[in-house]
Amino acid sequence: MEYRLIPLAATGILLAGISVDADDAIIQQGRQTFSTYCAPCHGPEGAGLLAPNLTDAEVLHGESLAEITKIIGEGVPARSMPPWGGVMDDATIEATAHYVMSIMDDNLPSGMVATPDTTVTPFPFGSAEEPYVLRTFMPTMGVGDEVFPHHGNGMATPKYDAKGGTFNIEKMQDPIDGVPGGVTVNFGEALSYCFDTTECRLLYTWQGGFMDMTDYWGAGQGGQRKKFGYVPTVLGNMVWRADGPAEFNGTPRFRGYRKVEGAPEFFYEIGDYQITLLVTPSDEPGVAHCYYTVTDSSGQKRSFSRFLHQNIEEDSS
């Protein structure tokens, strides 16, 4: 099954083989990255959309290559600019900074559509101290069909022709990849994970970044929807992915979650078992620490924890 994970340094590969001089190549590489990550807030030309105009004379956070590189890598949390250091490698950040420098004197008219004091972006993020919880559709990220036994099976159906009001059986429309009932949590760069409320099971973890919600939320404030599908894009490095049948047999029943120092502790039932699950970052980046309690039908309760180490090849992204 196909899944999407934005490649970390792939933008540099996109221009491989194109005959341009080195400086231009770097700037073009930076332009590509800018289009993917920066344009949703700064506008396609960098003239501002939700975040400020980068092409005018007003410089907010520095104008040297070192200053811009630092801002891209570390973000501006107070203004909800994400730290891209966990998503892009150093060379990609520097190329992006070169591109930003190349447009700084363009003096384009401002494209800002939001009130100046808004900090909303399609790149939400949390921290270890204040984890961010998001209920939304999620990609499956390659989790196998065997992990979804309690889901229905979407099928291809005749494509609807809006003009004619007819169905075209020669143009079947396939379903797309997605998790309908996910709970997604971000602890900053250290850890993100997706829990599925239908299977009552952790689906996958990743680290480095969180998510690009542009396809669902739109770019900027109150944006129009952009895509046919409303599945966000995961940013960062995949670490762990569920596989095989579930640990407990029985019908899952999601009951909710309570906050434990800001992180959700899920409580649910699978068959006769009552289960709680709290996921937190461990000392090792990307490795989730899962605390379980399991109470059986006799009332006997046991607790255990486990670490979810990397089980995905790094090049799978």
């Binding site: 099954m1 909800s80 009130t115 004091d117 808004t118 900090t119 909303v120 939400p124 961010y132 919880v133 998001l134 209920r135 939304t136 559709f137 499956t140 069909d145 979804f148 889901h151 229905g152 099976n153 979407g154 099928m155 159906t157 005749p158 609807y160 809006a162 009001g165 169905f167 429309q173 379903p175 797309i176 990849d177 997605g178 998790v179 309908p180 009932g181 409320t197 239908t198 919600m213 669902y216 939320w217 739109g218 404030q221 109150g222 944006g223 129009q224 929807r225 046919f228 599908g229 409303y230 599945v231 999601f254 009951r255 909710g256 979650y257 309570r258 906050k259 959700p264």
Partner: protein
Amino acid sequence: MNRRKIINGLLILALATGLNAESYRVEAINMPGDVAPEVGDLDFTPEGELVVSLRRHGILMAKPNANPAAFDWRVFAADSLHNPTGLDVVSGSEVLVSQMQELTRITDTDGDGVADLYENVADDWGVTGNYHESIAITRDGGDGWYLAIGTASHNGPTFYHTRGEFAPYGRTGRNFAAGPWKGWIVHADAEGNITPFAKGFRAHNGIIRDPQGRIWATDNQGDWRGTSPLYHVEKDNFYGHPSSLIWDKNFTTNVFKDPLQLYIDDWDAYEAHRTPAAVEFPHGLMSNSPSEPIVIPTGNAFGPFAGQMLVGDIAGPRITRVMVEEVSGVMQGACVTLISGDIGGGNNRLVFSPDDSQLYVGQTFRGWTRNSADGLKRVSYTGETPFEMQNISITKTGFRLTFTKPVDESTLSRLSHYKAQSYWYKSHHNYGSPQMDVTELSVTSAQVSADGRTVNLTIPGIQPKRIVQFDLGEGLVAADGSTIGNPTICYTVRKLR
């Protein structure tokens, strides 16, 4: 002062002397800068805090302030919820919210003002992965709820892995019901048990239970919606969008396995099955995308329309007033614009302030129209009675119109002030409908009441299953000189007296 400024000054003076005094004032309420102000729903706590759920955030609360820029917002639920378009507020520490995938009870258990417990109350319906399956809720009068579960749109996909059963015959069509209870109103009891209540809905983004215990739901123009309706919802009725019937096992077992195709092929059978709207909103004239209805509270705190309903329009800059009456055992009635212009579009949810004098309007528009707004508006009644048609009732010979202010008998009895026409909209698989069989109606007499506020119009030839549109003439002026604010009124005739 140059010539242009002089002309502008004269114009302003002329307008000021010619226009009616302002009856309703619209203000924009400032919201925090760190949230996208896409309002999913509104409600008040018993303590008087305004509660706002946001479509890409959580839940905010604020005690209203006379200064619209000075609301002191607090975050009650920091977690971003999935399209939270239905609220039922129990207290400042307990809120129920309908998300796309569940009805959730959100509670602040430790009293720090921020929710820390999110309990799944009910979720026994499908989620297919389509963006359009929003859920509006209303209390059932006890400790349960009615949930209006929208269909999906062909503009979006479904997933390979759906929550709940996937029905291939429910997946076809423009708006579709591939998952359980899409296009239905279901009932959830306090334990979260779901039972079907009524079917045949498309995008019923607004449901209320009125003080008489009646359930009302709006819906949106589109396939099987010639124009946008307001339904009086009664148990087990079919309200006209066939896709939902795929989840009626009695229908698929005993009638046909593919309800949509059946009714595309047999429109007469479809018409015989469906329950029509109590009120239809002519598209482009009254409402293009009606959302949540609300009943105007008793008293005159919000003007002279107590007991009537208001309905927001997401795709138009207006709030529409609705008057209903029971005729020959069915509910039917009329609509007329109340507020337009400054309010902007995107009018998704309405709630009255605890003192009934102010209407808060939650706005969002994503994906529907460009000429709308996100955010929060407040409409206040100034105390200045507007000159409007206050109510309308069908009679054996025509219609009885009552106005908010007295009118001289010679003016109110002048037949040329009443232009009337009738037409209907076809409910079919095609999107929307033109006005069908447009017919001018003659007003043959106008009998005025002693108080000058009511006129009985005799209009021959009124037929059931028609909308009668009145356009009142500019010369219809109240005794105090004020002109009619909204001269176009549309009455949906289901039955004659």
